[in-house]
């Protein structure tokens, strides 16, 4: 009973959608349309944390959170690269994660896409030159799309995913990608 009174008293506390939200919805719909055309189903994403500070993770989690709730458009995160169409890699690649990242890439079935999220994934950011860092993501595996930002907003991540899907779409006739 206390639970119910609390629910009623508290009301809805979800933040209202930001101004760009309507655009985000169109973006997600577009991603879903393209991935359905490409794969015959929704897009499955495997997220790999290659050594990130977890700033990017917070933003990625935002994609699945109540504001964006991207699962409703068929964008979903899967638990194994075997199920994935796309790898979402964050952070500078540490020495310890270099081999697992490579293995994850190999385990992902073709056709596959790699999206490097955040500045660290591109340049190693503030971690550049550390003894623990093996290098940026593209040193280990080929990257299709970079998303800049420290961290990038969920909206930007969506744009990046759309760009990657579009890239695969365009390259479909002539093999996979460069």
């Amino acid at each position: 009973m206390r639970l119910f009174t609390k629910i009623i008293r508290t009301g809805v506390v979800t933040e209202p959608l930001p101004a760009a939200a309507a655009e985000a919805v169109t973006l997600a719909r577009e991603i879903d349309r393209r991935s359905t055309a490409l794969f015959g189903r929704a897009l499955a994403i495997r997220h790999v944390d290659a050594g990130s500070c977890n700033g990017c993770e917070l933003e990625i989690a935002g994609l699945a959170g109540p504001v964006y709730d991207m699962e409703r458009f068929g964008l979903h995160f899967v638990a194994s690269p075997r199920h994935a169409d796309m790898l979402l890699v964050t952070g500078p690649v540490t020495q310890n994660m270099a081999v697992p990242l490579r293995k994850t890439y190999e385990a992902t079935p073709d056709p596959k896409l790699v999206v490097a999220v955040g500045d660290c994934a591109r340049t190693c950011g503030v971690f550049a030159g550390s003894y623990a860092v093996a290098g940026p993501v593209d040193r280990i595996i080929p990257v299709d799309v970079y998303i800049d930002g420290c961290p990038p907003e969920p909206f930007e991540i969506l744009q990046g995913i759309l760009a990657a899907v579009g890239r695969l779409d365009g390259a479909r006739s002539g093999g996979r990608r460069g």
Partner: protein, 670 residues
Amino acid sequence: MSPLAFAVMVGALAAGAVAAMVWPSPSGARRVSLAAAFVGCLAALALGGGVLLSGVTWAFRSEAFFQPLGGLSVRLDPLGAFFVIVVALTGAPASLYAIGYLRHLDGSIRGRTMHALFNVFLASMCLVPAADNVATFLFAWEVMALSSYLLVVSEPGQEGATAAGLWYAVMTHAGFLALLAAFLTLGQAGSLEFGAMRAGGATLPAAAQAIVFLLAVAGFGSKAGLVPLHVWLPRAHPAAPSHVSALMSAAMVKLGVYGLVRVLFDFMPPLSPWWGGTLLALGVVTALTGVLYSVAETHLKRVLAYSTVENLGLVFVALGFAVLMRGYGNGVLAAMGLVVALLHTLNHAVFKGLLFLAAGAVVHGARASSLEAFGGLIKRMPQTAVLCLVGVLALAAVPPLNGFTSEWLTFQLLIAGARYTAPTLAITLPAALAAVALVAGLAAVSAVRLFGITFLALPRTDGARNAHEAPGIMRAAMVLPAVACLVLGLFPTFALTQLTAVVAELGFPMGQFDAGLSLALPLIGSRLWPIGIAGLVAAASVAAAAASWIGRGRVVVGPAWNCGRIAQSPRAEYTAAAFAEPLKRVFTGFYRPTHEVSVEVHPVSRYFVRAISLRTDLVPWMEQAMYSPLVRAARLISTQVSRMHTGSIHLYLALLPAALVVLLLIARWI
């Protein structure tokens, strides 16, 4: 036909026993004596098959033996013939298997003794169902018990073999005493012939009936592993050599079922439904206990031994159902209960024999006996793995193998029983049904665990890494029961028709099972079409194979995904204990596992932990609660008695005349 087959059987087994001891070359002794055992089993098969198919009872009497007790009397009716077939069906592959399995014992006197005892064991098991008076029966029963006892303790290096043998000897002799008392009560008319008991059973007073029922259930139940008398099974089976375990588990425990069927359905009049209910409840408890321990146990052969307990529990469920229905006067359902009990007896004999032989090959190949020490054996012993898979699938009651038919029939029985008799049964039988369904599900879990942990994934020890395939003759021996599993599963109607005749001969006619390839139960009306199931399975496999063949160009074979770990090690694998852990938690009230966590900390601060170790044990607490007072009492008495044994010959000489005087005095008074 029958006298000839009997003579060949006895002759071959006797010749085998003698040849084992006197044949000049050791390897020749092994081959000749075990080949003789094989021939003896074939003759037993011919003998049983002849009696079963013709339906003609064969009898033979000789006054040359056991004279004061009524002479040697042998009578093979269809029921006995069926059990002779069960013994022969498991004895034949076991003897072939032993030719390869016991090669390492060549040249030792132990090897020769084992071959001789093996022949004696087989002969006694073939004689038990054929015995027709108390003397012959108990003689064969005792020879069977002693020879199997000696075979259990025949591997002195085996840990716990002596203790296992002691448990077995005590349990089997307590059972022997119960049987003796039961037969003496039955033979109150003065005759110890089975024929007289058959005629006089109906006139037995009610109290005597109850006594005979309880004694027979205790005596035969101790052989058949009825809870709480099953304690010897999980001890004796791991200690015995595998071909002996196969025989004991597949054939010897079944003779307990034989004895109970003989006494309850041949000698005794219909009993009060209470007794049937008791037997059924005991069966359910046995099945549940067996399957729960078989899921949790990690010693390969102990897993199988507990699974034997479980399957005998299912047989007792069907038997109890038959007694119950007979008590209610429903002859057709009683007959069906008996048929199902006998069918499951046969099916279990076939697949458990196969599994014990396969377990022997695995233990032999990987030089270990714990499930945790195996892994990846399918790559190293592929043929044994496939044969074992057949047995495991039958154990898990997967159609179209034989375990499925009898389990399906058990369910049908329990459903039908509630429909056709008293309203009390409409409440209790569904409860039994639910318990049996739980048993069936857990048995499947146990089967998956047994096969998966043993044969799949990576080898966990060096023994498993260097395992080798079993010798050809052992594999050939395992093919026989594997084929039998498949045939009995595909054509159950053949066995069922014969069993209907067996049961009709006992005085329980039932409607005919639909002849031909599909099986339809009379009265209940359920149908089973094993060939159809097999066809579906085959069609699905063909379709899957075709699909993978068509899509072969698009399939890329890569290494197994191990979450990106750098090296794949067996330490990441599921272990047998881990597989059982969820069940141990669910049934924690039953298992009552003991946990012992010890934390070793750094001397400077207790916040720096150096090592944490967990030790968890699964002690069968019911056994302890029941048997430890008995064991304590026995210890106490034997210490008291041993005080008399001072070793002084003078005392002994003094005791002799004292005893004589006491005896004379007693004789004078009487």
